[in-house]
């Protein structure tokens, strides 16, 4: 008890409570060291490669060639067209994922209690690997095997309805990517929706808001931060996508779905042009960071302030 303590007794050392910094260090330093070794090392190595021309025939050689690899990227037509596809795929995937996620969340929210178990079914696509999703959407979309042809068949048509077409294969792939990722978004949004006070909906009724207005002014605002977080996550994942497209279309038809990761794969793994591949991969990294940074500037900062 405090009154038994006298002023001349030395205070017990505060060591009983360690500081934030030391606690943080104890916890995070081993992990960060691990990440440093296994992430920074490959990154540094890729950085090294990007300034060299690597050859394997007639003996391995790495010749310093300065910024040549980087400048080559700028004049490489296939880089720009793949970048365009990546951006198109990413933008569509993000919009579709959030829209579908929101739609699913709204449906799940309105499920009566006895139908709650349906939630457990709706989450399932999220558990499918991008690899598996690629296979699903290949067979689903091909004119030879796909749903389009099957449905056309019901109406007596014997035409194929091919969804893997150069004109809209990116859109089709974006639908598949959204199928894969939207359930998780839906569940996080649902978690958010369930905390929105019901009173706000009463208020909206009193204000005679239309359904759309209610959605816009009552349902949506509390979700905006989650939507922002997922727009970032989806952007990063969409830009990194490789295995999904690799199994779904192999970059085809032709090169119509050769996104940046796929082009990188070809440069590094098929042509073994490691230096050039490394340089281009830094452009991809820059694009990913740039896109998330831009999202943050345009949207995230606003959400954070609120």
């Amino acid at each position: 008890m405090a009154d038994t303590t006298r002023s001349d007794t030395p205070a017990p050392p505060r060591a009983a409570e360690i500081s934030n910094l030391s606690f943080a260090l104890i916890i995070s330093v081993p992990v960060l060291l691990f990440l440093l070794v296994v992430v920074a090392y490959p990154l540094a190595y890729a950085f090294y490669l990007s300034f060299h021309e690597i050859r394997f025939f007639g003996g391995y050689s790495a010749t310093w060639n300065g910024l040549a690899n980087y400048s080559k990227v700028f004049s490489d037509q296939s880089f720009w067209s793949s970048l365009g596809r990546t951006l198109r795929f990413t933008a569509e995937t993000v919009v579709l994922t959030l829209a579908v996620g929101l739609g699913l969340a709204l449906i799940l929210k309105h499920l009566p209690a006895k139908w709650r178990w349906l939630r457990a079914l709706i989450i399932l696509p999220w558990a499918v690997s991008p690899y598996g999703a690629g296979i699903f959407f290949t067979y689903l979309g091909r004119g030879q095997t796909g749903i389009g042809t099957a449905v056309a068949g019901w109406f007596g048509s014997d035409h194929t309805l091919n969804l893997i077409s150069a004109r809209f294969v990116i859109e089709y792939l974006a639908v598949g990517a959204a199928w894969n990722m939207a359930p998780l978004v839906a569940f996080f949004l649902l978690a958010n929706m369930l905390t929105t006070p019901a009173r706000l909906y009463d208020l909206a009724k009193i204000d005679q808001m239309s359904r759309l207005e209610t959605f816009w002014h009552v349902t949506l605002p509390p979700l905006r931060f989650t939507l922002f977080v997922f727009s970032c996550i989806t952007t990063v994942l969409a830009m990194k996508t490789f295995d999904y497209i690799f199994t779904a279309t192999q970059g085809g038809p032709g090169g119509a779905s050769a996104v940046l990761t796929y082009t990188l794969y070809k440069i590094s793994f098929v042509n073994l042009d490691l230096g050039y591949g490394a340089a281009m991969s830094f452009f991809l990294l820059a694009v990913i960071l740039g896109a998330t940074g831009l999202l943050y500037l345009l949207w995230g900062r606003k959400e954070e302030r609120q």
């Binding site: 008890m1 009154d3 006298r6 505060r14």
Partner: protein
């Protein structure tokens, strides 16, 4: 139960001064309320007393013993946090139990003390419930039980009532005061609500921007606000302010402003002529009159009927709002011209620059 001394406490976060040179004593068994707007440093001060935050410099003494570097637990304080924070995954009983887990008491003794504490704040029937199943008031009581079960040297409450609705706050306020008097523990209560402060505190410490503006009994604070800030912060309705210049004429002291020339009576020893001042007067001390020469000209803006009296809110001569207490049922059309008079001896004068009180009227 302890007397708590704060000596020259400073707390800085980088270049931001959260608390500056704070000296304060909380007497044993006293209920001190720390009052101020958000960001004034009152919570920081309490966290330093609790031992949750270490002061940048200065000393904290419990019964004369330096506890500045002691952990909260070593100080034997108890605390109720904002919104009556509880461990959400533990039942009410277990929440209370956590206070004693480290006490070294026997299981039996702990159970006895939990039972007693629960009884004291009447939560016995709630012990098996989870926090999410409790109402706001129930949570508050459980949090209180959790605090008192330790029989602490100091009992610290950080805006525990702020999330509750008005009527509940009213009753819990009384309960807390009653409890404090019963168990006679030193209690520090932080709030930004001046009514809460006035109704609960033995003494009130008003803080602003990291400084202690004034410390004293509620009557002291109300009647003799030491600074312009305290004057404006404490009291319902708030004190009226009039800007003006002091002038000596005919051996008398006048307050002059474009629409007013008013004699200031009473002793204003350090009032220098030609000085810009702000005159403060409580609405209760003003009376409405018919328009007249020496009175304050006002225009009716709105009238609030309180049942026992009416508060007439007017546009004053210098653009600010002036509130005057009138008898219940007083009516006047919006925009009507009225005049108000008051005994300038009951008014207080403040220096606009230092915001300190200039002189004190003769009568309080």
């Amino acid at each position: 139960m302890a007397r708590i001394d704060l000596r020259n406490i400073v707390k800085t976060y980088g270049s931001h001064h959260a608390v500056e040179n704070l000296d304060m004593t909380i007497e044993d068994g006293e209920l001190l309320v720390l009052l101020g707007p958000s960001g004034c440093g009152k919570s920081t001060t309490m966290n330093m007393i609790a031992g949750l935050t270490e002061p940048t410099s200065g000393q904290i003494l419990f019964d004369g013993a330096d506890v500045t570097s002691h952990s909260p637990h070593q100080r034997n304080i108890a605390m109720v946090f904002q919104s009556s924070l509880l461990y959400p995954h533990l039942s009410a009983h277990d929440n209370i139990y956590m206070s004693l887990k480290r006490s070294g008491l026997s299981k039996q003794e702990i159970e006895a003390r939990i039972a007693h504490a629960a009884q004291t704040v009447d939560v016995t029937r709630l012990l098996d419930k989870m926090p999410s199943q409790l109402s706001g008031g129930e949570r508050q009581r459980v949090a209180t039980a959790k605090a008192i079960v330790r029989e602490p040297a100091g009992f610290l409450l950080d805006e525990p009532l702020s999330a509750l609705d008005a009527s509940l706050r009213l009753s819990l306020r009384a309960e807390l005061v009653n409890l404090q008097k019963r168990i006679r523990t030193t209690m520090i209560f932080v709030t930004h609500d001046q009514v809460e402060a006035m109704t609960m505190g033995d003494r009130i410490g008003v803080m602003r921007k990291g400084r202690l503006e004034q410390i004293g009994t509620p009557t002291d604070i109300y009647n003799r606000p030491a600074t312009l800030f305290v004057a404006g912060f404490v009291g319902v309705p708030p004190m009226n302010f009039l800007k003006g210049t002091l002038e000596k004429a005919d051996g008398r002291l006048w307050l002059i402003n474009p629409s007013l020339r008013m004699e200031i009576k009473g002793e204003f020893a350090n009032a220098a002529p030609q000085k810009e001042v702000i005159l403060g007067i409580r609405p209760h001390l003003m009376r409405l009159t018919e328009a007249g020469a020496s009175a304050l000209p006002l225009t009716v803006y709105a009238i609030e009927q309180l049942g026992n009296e009416a508060i007439v809110i007017c546009d004053g001569p210098d653009g600010g709002k002036i509130r005057v207490v009138a008898p219940a049922g007083f009516t006047a059309p919006v925009g009507a011209r009225l005049d108000a008079t008051f005994d300038s001896a009951a008014a207080r004068l403040y220096d606009p620059a230092s915001e300190q009180v200039l002189a004190v009227g003769k009568k309080a």
